[in-house]
Symmetry: C2
Subunit: 288 residues, 2 copies
DNA sequence: TGATGTGAATAGTTTCACAGCC
DNA sequence: GGCTGTGAAACTATTCACATCA
């Protein structure tokens, strides 16, 4: 996972920085005149734990699947199973956004979908720009306008002049030099960096200059961004290495069966022979 | 980010399941005869917090970059900055794998690299199979044998007969029906699922049957796997939605400026001219 | 003197278990 | 009877702060 924040504070494995939000009293009831303009719809909505936010997105997908099957009601148990969590956690997570269930019955699928969407800010459209139209960039650009709701890809950028002007996934590629202009013009809020490591910080700076507020970074580099910009990182190498760690741990555990009584509850299946060990220099060739 | 586990327990945001490891005494000193075969190299190595494991991979990259610049020593402060964490956390993380620093001086880059690689199990090669050679699959197959050390891609699979046999990134694509056979033959330990949602569970089952121990899943579905298989999920939609949440939160916070006395302890940092006030609608366009 | 390594304090997250309501 | 919502307990992770040592 791997956090990625401006500088100091962090949350879970992969998380955006700071925690903000003054603890004390909630910011709800501030009966003042100006509230007229604001429909009083989304008030509190703070203080939702980072970890819970991530899971809300997962619940949302599970709920959408249910809705498609014309299922109108779910229990926390059912939804939890579909989302791969336990029901206590699910109920707790949902409690952060309000009480929309019915005791003894469950949740109304449509209602929950609406509430989660509201909480995640999905009622507003977020234009996406993808920078770096290589293999990964293509994949992202063709990602069906981004799954589900409001993430239309509205700009693509690359360095390569042969690519500029060519439409990918219906949108013509612009040159990287025009990031600032195009992004502010098309009101891009989310930038996706799919460039090689070298260009990433430069691209990031331009996206920020173009008014982008969030960045999803596939380049294996820690980006420097101003405080008001949110960064999330997806790092394939890190994911693989975490998996590697778990394999190693498991094998080591298995090896510790040298000790144990017969059945120590360990991994019975799997088996297979383990190769020996390698060992060498190790070079770091980044690519993308 | 979203956990993904067989059924119940989970860790941080994105984590593999169970915690295993008996707490009590470490498994170190078990002076028995069979220890001859085992070089007594990697013994304990348990009990490293999930979150720390993820960061070790990040430190490793930062260290590799330093090594390439022929830098031989780093302080926790420097390395922490490079990795985007604070130094206390870094020192704590490193302390889980042992004491390899020198007080008053710092860490030797090469030594740390070696120790982290050992801890992450990178001294063993992990063959990778990629299933689903679409846009994303191509990107993954061409990922340069996977960044850095030991993750050679050694098998590719797709459903499409037009693709079977065609080499991608130097490796010919095999048919999905041959997953079990090919994977066990080539001793694949890590499977990457880059298929559409529909096929994902089926593919997963075959990978498992083929002896794969870890799965990196790009399909937006919660996979069912036996206990001994580790799954990690990368979900673009979830990432985007988390970002969306943060935008929404920030805008909502800005809107709450309706209230505030002048300085309510909000983000004072940033310094610089920073955008002063925001109008009702509130747009966040930073210029340069 | 300067930086590591780590116990103790704090913060965040998950799980338990049960009151409350349908 | 069944299921939600939620305090409180348990657990995990981060930060502090300082003893320790080269």
């Amino acid at each position: 996972m791997t956090a990625q924040g401006a500088d100091v504070p962090e949350g879970d494995g992969q998380t955006t920085a700071r925690t903000a939000a003054s603890p004390g009293a909630s910011n709800g009831a501030d009966a003042n005149g100006t509230s007229i303009a604001v429909p009083a719809a989304r008030e509190r909505a703070r203080s939702i734990p980072e970890a819970a936010v991530a899971r809300l997105a997962v619940y949302l997908r599970a709920l959408s699947a249910l809705a498609e099957q014309d299922i109108t009601t779910v229990s926390s148990e059912e939804l939890a199973t579909a989302a791969g969590v336990n029901s206590a956690k699910l109920r707790k997570d949902l409690s952060y956004i309000g009480s929309y269930g019915t005791r003894g019955v469950g949740y109304e699928v449509e209602v929950l979908i609406g509430q989660i969407e509201r909480t995640l800010g999905l009622t507003r459209k977020h234009s996406v720009a993808v920078v770096g139209i290589g293999n990964l960039g293509h994949a992202l650009a063709n990602y069906g306008g981004f799954p589900g709701r409001g993430f239309p890809v509205s700009a693509l950028f690359d360095l390569d002049d042969d690519l500029v002007g060519v439409p990918v996934g219906g949108i013509p590629v612009s040159h990287i030099d025009d990031i600032v202009e195009v992004c502010s013009e098309r009101e891009v809020t989310i930038g996706v960096i799919a460039t090689p490591t070298q260009g990433a910080q430069e691209v990031c700076d331009r996206l920020v200059a173009g008014g982008v507020m969030c960045i999803l970074n596939f380049a294996p580099i820690v980006l420097q961004v101003p405080e008001h910009v949110e960064v999330r990182k997806v790092d394939l190498a890190v994911e693989m290495q975490i998996l590697s760690f778990h394999v190693a741990r498991r094998q080591q555990e298995a090896a510790n069966a040298v000790d144990g009584a017969a059945s120590d509850g360990g991994p019975p299946g799997g088996g297979a022979g383990l190769p020996g060990e390698i060992d060498s220099a190790n070079r770091m060739v980044e690519r993308l």
